[in-house]
């Protein structure tokens, strides 16, 4: 991929060069990297959109059975919304296919950097590929396989007749009739290792006779092998790419990216009174903030990590600077801190958080990603994500003390064991609010609060409208009195991540 040198941010696209044969299929193996020019803004937005897509793939994969009707319809909706190819049959798909192609390769740059990132990326890309492949018809499959040089030959009728009984005996659950109907492909046995290993396939002369329905697994395996190798290669050439200072911040942060509203400026500041906070902490705070609030009340103190995480959250839900100063001071002086010391020390840093000191940056409340990934708590700390950082036994006790049902607790703990911390918090939301489906993808504590408030005030629709007006998506947090206007994280139009903000986001701590 070529990037223009200098400050040019926009450049000519493939003007008038819409070669339809460049992307003859809606599906691809991403074997050839793109060679066109691309603007930085398109680079960013493509990457962000694909990241949103992959996160949806991840969420759906845990919430629904892969391949079930709900899974498929929700995934198709997301693909359509984010303008990725969703219908194999659609002919005029050039823009979507191009976006698919480019965004995949851009994300490779971000996700090749560590074993964990690679594993996550490969898993989601494989699930996405599997969905799209299984939507293809037999003819399209044949075309696609030829296109990617996996020309597995379907065996002729004569050949099938001679080994029909062997096929029946080697494919479990297949009757003679089914064998006759199904297409069989001759695949080099090393492409079908799992089927051979477990003797679930007819093997002759080094070829596995694979029925059509097992073809997906084989193609997927190929896809995974290729992608794995490619990522390893990409990692090696990464230093060159990272030396481009326009790309470096974006790439570095994509893998930790929070791609939703940042709750930095509230439209409805001052709508919360300090007296409400105790009740709110039980009803509408995510567990991390509920925990911090309780610790603050119990100990009349919080350490720096806790003050940052909780303090910014409170700002995000609408506490004004004056309220914040009063809130923290009244609590701290009940502890070991006297009024003077508070004014001289702690007050400064609260004002700093509100952008009234120093650099005057208006700091943004932490996203779940940031809380989970950075600054783990140590002894005496109460910040972090309880689903990530608490001992599961202690977590269990805490949930029990909140009167959550044993089944519910088990579900939460299972998600924790699977390292799905945000999904565990989503489950916590559902249990606290007594709803079946949280209805959104949780990525931010302030989002939790906003959604909770909306639910409790009866202002939530079941089906989310995805067409949000531009100005509402980036900077907003809805309060109790706000009419239903949600900003779920994986939604709508381009999130405008300003690179400078991202920088501060990660360096302020």
């Amino acid at each position: 991929m070529q990037f223009y040198r200098g400050n040019r941010l926009k450049c000519a696209r493939l003007a008038g060069d819409r070669r339809g044969d460049r992307y003859p299929h809606s599906l691809q193996f991403y074997l050839q990297p793109p060679t066109e020019n691309i603007s930085l803004s398109e680079f960013e937005s493509f990457a962000v959109d694909r990241l949103k897509l992959l996160k949806v793939v991840e969420n759906l994969g845990v919430s629904y059975l892969k391949g079930s009707p709900e899974y498929k319809s929700k995934l198709e909706m997301e693909l359509k919304k984010l303008k990725f190819p969703y219908r194999a049959l659609a002919e005029e798909d050039y823009d979507a296919r191009r976006k698919d192609h480019l965004s995949h390769f851009i994300l490779r740059l971000a996700y090749c950097q560590s074993e964990e990132l690679r594993r996550w990326f490969i898993q989601q890309e494989m699930d996405l590929f599997r969905y799209r492949f299984t939507e293809l018809t037999e003819d399209l499959i044949k075309n696609f396989l030829t296109y990617v040089n996996l020309a597995y030959n379907a065996i002729s009728k004569e050949e099938k007749d001679t080994c029909a009984d062997k096929l029946v005996n080697s494919t479990p659950g297949f009757s003679g009739a089914k064998v006759v109907d199904m297409a069989y492909y001759k695949v080099p046995w090393s492409h079908a290792v799992d089927l051979v290993r477990t003797r679930r396939i007819y093997l002759h002369d080094g070829f596995a006779f694979v029925p059509h329905q097992d073809l997906v697994a084989i193609v997927l395996n190929n896809y995974r092998t290729n992608l794995s190798k490619a990522l390893a290669l990409t990692a090696r050439s990464l230093p060159v790419v990272q030396s481009d200072e326009r790309l470096q911040p974006l790439l570095n942060h994509l893998s930790h990216a929070y791609v939703g509203p940042d709750y930095s400026i509230q439209k409805n500041t001052g709508k919360i009174s300090l007296e409400q906070i105790d009740a709110l902490s039980v009803k509408s705070f995510p567990l991390c903030m509920r925990q911090l609030h309780k610790a603050l009340r119990d100990n009349h103190h919080l350490r720096h990590g806790g003050r940052m995480q909780y303090g910014l959250f409170l700002k995000g839900i609408g506490l004004t600077l004056e309220q914040a100063l009063q809130f923290w001071k009244s609590e701290f002086i009940r502890g070991k801190v006297d009024a003077d010391k508070f004014d001289k020390g702690y007050a400064y840093s609260i004002r700093h958080n509100y952008g009234k000191e120093g650099k005057r940056t208006d700091y943004t409340p932490y996203s779940c990603m940031k809380i989970i990934l950075s600054n783990p708590p140590s002894q005496g700390d109460y910040h972090g994500c309880p689903f990530r950082h608490s001992d599961p036994e202690l977590l269990k006790q805490k949930l029990q003390s909140y009167k959550i049902s044993p089944t519910g607790i088990t579900q939460v703990l299972d998600l924790v064991k699977g390292m799905h911390y945000q999904l565990a918090c989503q489950k916590y939301f559902e249990l606290i609010h007594d709803v079946d489906d949280i209805g959104f993808s949780l990525n931010h504590p302030n989002q939790y609060f906003a959604e909770s408030q909306k639910l409790l005030s009866g202002g939530r629709e079941i089906k989310k409208e995805r067409n949000q007006p531009e100005n509402s998506q980036a900077k907003q947090s809805s309060q109790k009195s706000t009419p239903a206007s949600s900003t779920p994280s994986c939604s709508n139009t381009k999130a405008e991540i300003k690179l400078e903000e991202l920088e501060d986001y990660f360096t302020e701590d």
Binding site: N169, W189, V193, R197
Partner: protein, 390 residues
Amino acid sequence: MAAWPFEPGSLPDLLPLYYRRLFPFGPYGRWLRYGGVPKSYFENREFSFTLRDDIYVRYQSFSNPQELEREIQKTNPYKIDIGAVYSHRPNQHNTVHMGAFQAQEKELVFDIDMTDYDDVRRCCSSADICPKCWTLMTIAIRIIDRALTEDFGIRHRLWVYSGRRGVHCWVCDDGVRKWSSTLRSAVVEYLTLVKGGEDTIKKVTLGDTIHPFISESLSIVEKYFEDYALVGQDILGSRESWDKVLALLPEHILFVYCSGKNEELEWDRKSCLSRGSLCHPGHPDKQKEIMLQYCFPRLDINVSKGVNHLLKSPFSVHPKTGRVSVPIDLKKVDEFDPFAVPTIRCLCAVSDYKKTSLAPYVRVFEEFLEEMDNFRKGELLRISDSKRDF
């Protein structure tokens, strides 16, 4: 049978003679050079030697077969193992940056050891073998070899008697030598039917459908089992001989087979016999499972799966029996007699080495090499034809 009992103490005297006069270095070198392309293939091959007093040296490597010959004749190892072809010369592996020294290629090997059948043979146990249980090896070779050639499309297999109680197989196809550990494990799993250790009584369970690999293997077993149990042992001959055969079969298998009619372990073997035993297909599936449990090959996956695994070399001497690890002629596998395999003692007693009993085995080896050579030439012709090179 060896005319003299073998004394391991004689090895230091006999080995020099063996390595100077009898070890077929010529064909051996031709084998491991694999046509000489690339030249580094032989250079990067690991050998290991077990010297006297159990001194074991690894990462031996040589520039060419002649150097190997000289070293062996100098050190007279008790045992020679062949390892993998590495990325660098094994004898320089300490100079290579850690992680860069990798095993890259090796023959796919199988090791079938009679001790793995101890739960189903009563004639012998552990290191002993006798003509009766050797049949198990014959069955194993037939079953595995058929699967390798017909199912996996493999061409060049060298079967070798280990010198004591088992057989090895060396698969030498060009492509196969490059196989990863995953592929090698997969082959072993495909070939595995007998599962379970000491605690498992019934080790073979067949499903509703019988995979072609199993049915093919079964027909091989059935052929031998009949010979083995009925003809060879003449089990119908007398009660005593029948009892002897029954004694070969673990009680618990017969117990299972006899449908648990007798709850106690002290069952009446005769009544079992009259109820339609092994001779009659009264319970075909049970009969199949028993035959398979008794006869089906048992492989050691650890030997086969590692690309860097070292295995005893063909023509190496077994230090405990004195017998040479000789190739087995597949055309005459039924006639192979492990007790007729020459020991180093008899070999060295003969003055004209060309007349020794090792010669036929060397011929088998050379035929194997010739087949590989011919195939290699054929492939080159095919490639140059397709490129239209004349």
